[in-house]
Amino acid sequence: MNWKRATIAAATAAPVIGLLAWGMTRDPNDIPSPLPGREAPAFQLAVFAPGQGDLQRPIGDTVKLADLRGQVVVLNFWASWCLACRDEHALLSTVAREYSDRPVKFLGVLYNDVPDKGLAWIAEMGGQSYPSVDDPGARVAIDYGLYGVPETFFLDVNGRVAYKHTGPVTPTVLRVKIDSLMAAGAATEATPGASGDSAKADAAGKDVKARTGR
């Protein structure tokens, strides 16, 4: 009789405890993005911060995402009021310069901020090697399912979102993602067709796993 009761109690308690334990492993602030694997939302935004050296774009120039097809794009949403953006700024600037002769484009997108404040912030931070564009009304941000800054999107050579990084990027994530996306892009170029597509699919799959495992 006691054994029977104990079994019933255990059978009842186990799923509840299991459910609660699973709940503890989840971060309620972590919003899953449906974007990775899909085509990156198109945009046309005007440059307000020109960048430096080879990476420079004139102020007022319109950056069209479609024109960046064939290159890996690192799209970084930031704001001058964003504290975490300070942590990744130097890294992004350095890596963008490092990869300046590779098929990679870095682009900053100002989020809910005034371009003048953005420029002042860039000056305060000691410059930004790559250009930044303004996003009035946060339309592009909403199109990318943004919920805060900094968020960084890695787009593959076919203009698809390969990976979304929430919070300041780390050197490892930044370099590994760019390198793997460039490699996948080169593979596509070398062998157009099925093999290249599967390489891309693999890269995308890994990215999704990396994100969900966070």
Partner: protein, 185 residues
């Protein structure tokens, strides 16, 4: 024998109470899981002063169209504000929520249905953006489970209470506590 019997009875009452509390808690937890749109008390309300700022593609007539405004409100109160805790973009005064409401209004103004607009936000933020999960597939569990647990729990309690209050000789025999006559206590 009397104190022992009293003790056993007390233990049973305690067990029943624990079961009841556990049932209620599990039910409440299940009901809370989808974070239904229960705006916290004293949550900032839309003041009207913080109206949408960028109305790029809306004409003056559309800006003041009460039907469009009502539709916008309906859709906006079903969408979760990404930078808040459990608030809809209708109830949130945050900048992003206002910008999202502008997008809702503009999309409705172009003739999109309310479902179209919701689908757009789902395609960007995932189903997470809906304050109330859609009632299909796995989500049905969220709606069905609390009701099932309440019914099941009530049934279990009725069954146990019936058994415990039944003629003590029958239970006592099973318990192996002896077949003493029941003593009034």
């Amino acid at each position: 024998m009397m104190p022992l019997r009293g003790l056993v009875r007390a233990a049973r009452v305690l067990a029943a109470a624990t079961l009841l509390v556990a049932t209620v808690q599990v039910t409440a937890a299940a009901a809370q899981a989808p974070e239904l749109p229960a705006a916290p008390k004293g949550a900032p309300q839309d003041s009207g002063a913080l109206r949408v700022q960028v109305l790029g593609t809306l004409s003056d007539a559309q800006k003041n169209d009460p039907v469009l405004e009502a539709k916008t409100k309906t859709v906006a109160s079903e969408l979760r504000c990404p930078v808040c805790q459990g608030l809809s973009i209708q109830d949130s005064p945050s900048e992003l929520a206002q910008q999202m409401r502008t997008v809702v209004k503009e999309r409705l103004a172009t003739g999109q249905s309310e479902q179209d607009v919701k689908d757009y936000f789902i395609s960007k933020y995932g189903e997470w953006i809906l304050l109330e999960p859609q009632a299909h597939g796995f989500n049905l569990l969220v709606y069905a489970l609390p009701a099932l647990l309440v019914v099941g729990g009530a049934g279990l309690i009725v069954l146990l209470v019936k058994r415990w209050t039944a003629a003590p000789s029958a239970v006592a025999a099973g318990d192996g506590a002896g077949a003493d006559e029941v003593s009034p206590d």
